[in-house]
């Protein structure tokens, strides 16, 4: 069954005519070509599909888009301010906090939600906030350091 979904993504309104039984991740990637949001485990375990809903990081692979109509969805495409990268993006690039980069969109959005709520987090608070975002390359240290650097700018 197809229906019209009304989604507000990165401050823009979208009307999508799509099957109701697609996850938010699938709608973003397959119907809206917003492929910055990555497809990992589809089981809620890896965090690479993270998006923000009303500022809170959640997993788009487990969210039904019908249930989030009318709410503010932020994807990685909405993180930079025009051509100006977000301070977190700058810090991740400067410190080499991305290697293959597959986890990076999720890492950035979860970190953004953390800094929006808690501008000067401790290392422990950063670790707790990022507990659901797995990275198989960096060993996490560079990621924590990048969040710390961004929190100082």
């Amino acid at each position: 069954m197809k229906q019209i979904l009304r989604l507000r993504i990165n401050n823009q309104n979208y009307e999508v005519y799509a099957p109701i039984h697609k996850t938010l991740l699938e709608i973003l990637r397959e119907d809206l070509n917003l492929t910055g949001t990555k497809h990992g485990c589809e089981l809620g375990e890896c965090g690479t599909c993270t998006v923000l809903i009303d500022g809170e990081p959640v997993l788009s692979c487990l969210i039904l888009p019908v249930a989030v109509q009318g709410r503010a969805i932020t994807t990685i495409e909405g993180m930079a301010d025009g051509i100006m990268p977000h301070p977190l993006q700058t810090a991740f690039a400067e410190l080499g906090a991305a290697q293959c980069g597959y986890c990076t969109p999720g890492m950035l959005l979860t970190s953004k939600a953390l800094l929006d709520q808690n501008p000067q987090p401790t290392r422990d608070e950063i670790k707790h906030a990022l507990a659901g975002n797995l990275c198989r390359c960096t060993g996490y240290t560079k990621i924590y350091e990048a969040v710390e650097q961004a929190s100082k700018t």
Binding site: E56, L62, L64, A67, G132
Partner: protein
């Protein structure tokens, strides 16, 4: 995913009416972190676990969201309240830290931000045969349990029969320790069921884990005020440091008199098809000095444990974790 219809319920009555109208083909959905991962993605189903055709969304029902502290000192938490709201509640943390600690140990923040209390308590088990596409086991309406001869390292060490799941909910473990109850709405009104009798094992009905009927839903949970000087503690052991389901978890609620166990509960998660109240251990402690007795008392778990081929290690884990958690509570 298979196609489905989604219905937004605005009130509890509306949700019950929809459940009643659609019959067993309808299911409640809250955050969806369990339902969408398993059943809706059509990996986990069988004739005893059909894929729902209608989903009834309860996350916009105002009376099912939020935390209220009552005049009598108890609390009521709406079933559609997110786990993050529970972990962040100072009121709950001050009075019932065992609950907020258990909620904080669930999954990752990314799931707690949309996963709800009702979804946590009513989530389906994590047995990897159940979650595997190709195993048509008893719980899916099939005629075999693959865990008996298969890899059962995470399965039940107590109370398994026919099916050997462990109840996956961390929050249920602490709610049972707190003697909380569930308020359930159905076509004939509402009923309160203490968590003591909310969860059901495979012996009663292998196709479900609790007393909820298909046309009922959980509206909220009430927690009674604790007696003065009650102490609580929570521990959860898991295979990975970051987050995982419990190998064993322990919730302790205790009152003492001069160092002796007066009253309380020791509840284990990850060991049985239901959150398991370790009455043998409580009885071994009553009236005795806790510090002197706990080691011997905890080891009485051996009298009720019946491990499977690969999970006897969980008996030792549980005994040690019980000892540690009870001592932490004091």
């Amino acid at each position: 995913m298979k196609s489905f219809e989604l219905h937004d319920a605005g009130t509890v009555q509306e949700a019950v009416a929809l459940l009643n109208k659609f019959g067993p083909s309808a299911k409640i959905v809250a955050g969806g972190s369990d339902l969408v991962t398993g059943v809706m993605k059509d990996w986990v189903h069988g004739k005893g676990m059909p894929i729902p055709e209608k989903l009834i969304d309860v996350t916009a029902i105002p009376e099912m969201i939020g935390i209220t502290i009552a005049a009598n000192g108890g609390a009521t938490i709406g079933a559609a309240t997110t786990l993050t709201s529970i972990t962040e509640s100072k009121d709950l943390d001050q009075k019932w830290a065992v609950l907020t600690q258990s909620a904080a140990s669930v999954a990752s923040p990314l799931i707690r931000n949309f996963g709800t209390l009702g979804g946590n308590i009513n989530q389906r088990p994590r047995c990897w045969f159940l979650r595997g596409e190709h195993f048509d086991c008893y719980k899916k309406g099939g005629d075999f349990c693959f865990a008996v001869t298969g890899d059962n390292r995470y399965h039940a060490i107590i109370g398994g029969e026919l099916c050997y799941i462990v109840h996956p909910s961390d929050v249920a473990t602490s709610l049972l320790a707190l003697n909380a109850s569930a308020n359930i709405a159905g076509p004939s009104g509402t009923r309160a069921v203490a968590f003591d009798s909310y969860f059901t094992g495979p012996r009663e009905d292998v196709l479900r884990e609790n007393v909820l009927k298909h046309d009922e839903l959980m509206v909220n949970v009430t927690i009674p005020a604790l007696a003065p000087n009650t102490k609580t503690a929570w521990s959860k052991l898991k295979d990975r440091q970051v987050y995982d389901f419990a190998l064993v978890s322990v919730a302790v609620v205790v009152t003492q008199e001069n160092g002796a166990w007066r009253d309380g509960r020791i509840v284990l998660g990850g060991v049985a098809p239901v959150p398991y109240r370790a009455k043998v251990i409580e009885q071994a402690l009553v009236g005795k000095n806790i510090k002197d007795t706990i080691k011997a008392a905890a080891s009485t778990l051996k009298t009720v444990a019946r491990p499977m081929s690969l999970n006897a290690y969980k008996v030792d884990l549980a005994i040690n974790l019980i000892e540690r958690t009870v001592l932490n509570a004091l």
